[in-house]
Symmetry: C2
Subunit: 299 residues, 2 copies
DNA sequence: GTTCCTTTTGCTCGAACTGAGCATTACTTA
DNA sequence: TAAGTAATGCTCAGTTCGAGCAAAAGGAAC
């Protein structure tokens, strides 16, 4: 038939190395996500197709793969005369952050700097984003309400609303992508731009992963076989962009029986040696929604 | 170019009338979901395209619309020589269950009878599903664990795992769809068959909606402007397939400020008259994750 | 009009969970 | 040997949760 339509499979491949969440990209000028066309005859399922594309483009071996969202706005990719592009985006988690040829890991928060609250509220938020959004919303109660919920102005900060936040910034012309084709290159300080709508896809992935953390033990897809509880906590904190209370975190994972001690200890890093733990795979067969119970949704 | 690929938009349109959840279908022989091809030139966004298809096929006016999942297994739709079909499925919620010409509402639980636990554990589960699954899993610890978690055998029943349950039944040949093309029409008592993989899509939608209920006030998309708390509770119970403690449900919605009283009362139905409430739209701008906090995940 | 029935609404109580901080342990380094 | 550091252990008050008793407000039966 030949409708003018191209279907691609795009991947947000995530690793956390040393408490820093990273995403795998394939080009540097504006970084882009690994992406390739679906092979309508060859790919038996979409997920297998996605794995093929990931393998072809990055050579990275991914474990967990989950469909994220399908992006298909008519004008999301501007190519004069080209076909409409439909992208089925996937979230993939990998344990190691080894780099493949032509592909490189970039810090997730380089693209979404307002999302990392581990060191307190980031300056970009208080100094740039919130003031400009406040101007943008002036006189419009609807906009004001959205700014308030999304950016926690007088309301709690909700890590999960990453996509809503990106969309608000896009709508208010506060991210570079929104200014494309307008010759209005304002040099915005709101994080690194990505190709096409790939930054939106990254924001979608971040929100989804943060949510999933609370009811499925996906963190362990990012951990090595054995780890200390501090390392586990560091990974969770890296993803949700918040600091957690150490003792309570420990209490949580122990109560939920998510991990078991190995009796061995990690090479000491200055203090009392930490015991090494491993993930108890069997929890998924015991408790209904094992997860990390995200925390201070109050502030 | 002309790759042999067809992209359709499929909708699971849900209404709850009188504590019975229903899905809109368009054909009766095997019931099918409303579905139509994406108009690559005309549809500006996928959601708008979905709304167009819904309008064309059913005439029903939907409010809330949310993308569900994209289904694209190579052989999910068997049409010799036809193109591969990719379906982007949406979940839509409507307030009224008015029927349009050629379209009809069917009870959601007619298709997924094991999902309704409001009157206790359904007979189909204890009499048919669990015994057969137990046989199917005999000697395979992996299968046994899956059966246990999904169907709450010695583990709690988790309403959200609707899709996993359907997939397990499919894999173990306990739903009619799994037997297609095998001439093995066993007359399975496991609910009504649907066209293509539409029953899987329905299961996906049910699980997603059940989850969403817990952190977003989507129930109100199914309610009239004014309702009693019992009606609200009845709708929630219909969706999650479980009974709730009436006083605690009331306490919850009041504490979360999800509703406000109107001061007027519903026509009495035998007991003390119930006050009419309405949804407080402003909650979404106040609390981070307003929702219904699903209940007895313990049993 | 009184009594019974039904449903809504109000309240209480113990168990469990949360957030937060103090205290102790077991190493390394000066 | 003392000081520093991080892991681990424990406590405590405030909150939420599950469950049930009790009162309130109508209709129907007599």
């Amino acid at each position: 038939m030949g409708s003018d339509l191209l279907v691609t499979l795009d991947a947000v491949i995530v690793a956390v190395t040393d408490t820093r969440p990273r995403v795998l990209t394939v080009a540097d000028v504006p970084p882009a996500l690994p992406s390739g066309p679906l092979d309508a005859e060859g790919d038996e399922t979409l997920e297998l197709g996605m794995r093929r594309v990931i393998d072809e483009q990055t050579g990275v071996e991914v474990g967990y793969v989950e469909q994220l969202y399908t992006f298909g706005d008519r004008d999301r990719i501007r190519a004069p005369g080209g076909p409409r592009v439909l992208s089925i985006a996937y979230l993939a988690l990998v344990r190691e952050a080894s780099t493949a040829a032509g592909a490189g890991w970039v810090d997730w928060y380089a693209m979404l700097p307002w999302e990392d609250h581990r060191e307190g509220i980031p300056g970009i938020l208080t100094d740039v984003v919130v003031p400009r959004l406040t101007d943008w919303a002036a006189g419009d109660p609807g906009r004001q309400a959205r700014v308030a919920v999304c950016f926690g102005v007088g309301a709690p900060w909700d890590p999960i609303r990453a996509l809503e936040r990106y969309e608000l910034l896009y709508e208010s012309d506060l991210v570079a992508e929104a200014l494309r084709g307008r010759g209005d290159d304002a040099g915005l300080p709101t994080g690194v731009e990505m190709a096409f709508d790939h930054r939106r896809i990254c924001a979608t992935a971040l929100g989804r992963l943060r949510g999933k953390l609370t009811y499925r033990p996906v963190v362990f897809e990012l951990m090595p076989d054995e780890f200390t509880l501090s390392e586990l906590q560091g990974t969770v904190e890296a993803l949700i962009g918040l600091r957690l209370h150490k003792q309570n975190f420990r209490r949580l994972v122990e109560r939920e029986h998510l991990v078991e001690g190995t009796g061995r200890y990690a090479p000491s890093t200055g203090g009392r040696p930490a015991e090494l733990y491993r993930f108890r795979r069997s929890v998924v067969g015991e408790r209904p929604r094992p997860g990390m119970r995200l925390p201070p949704f109050r502030g």
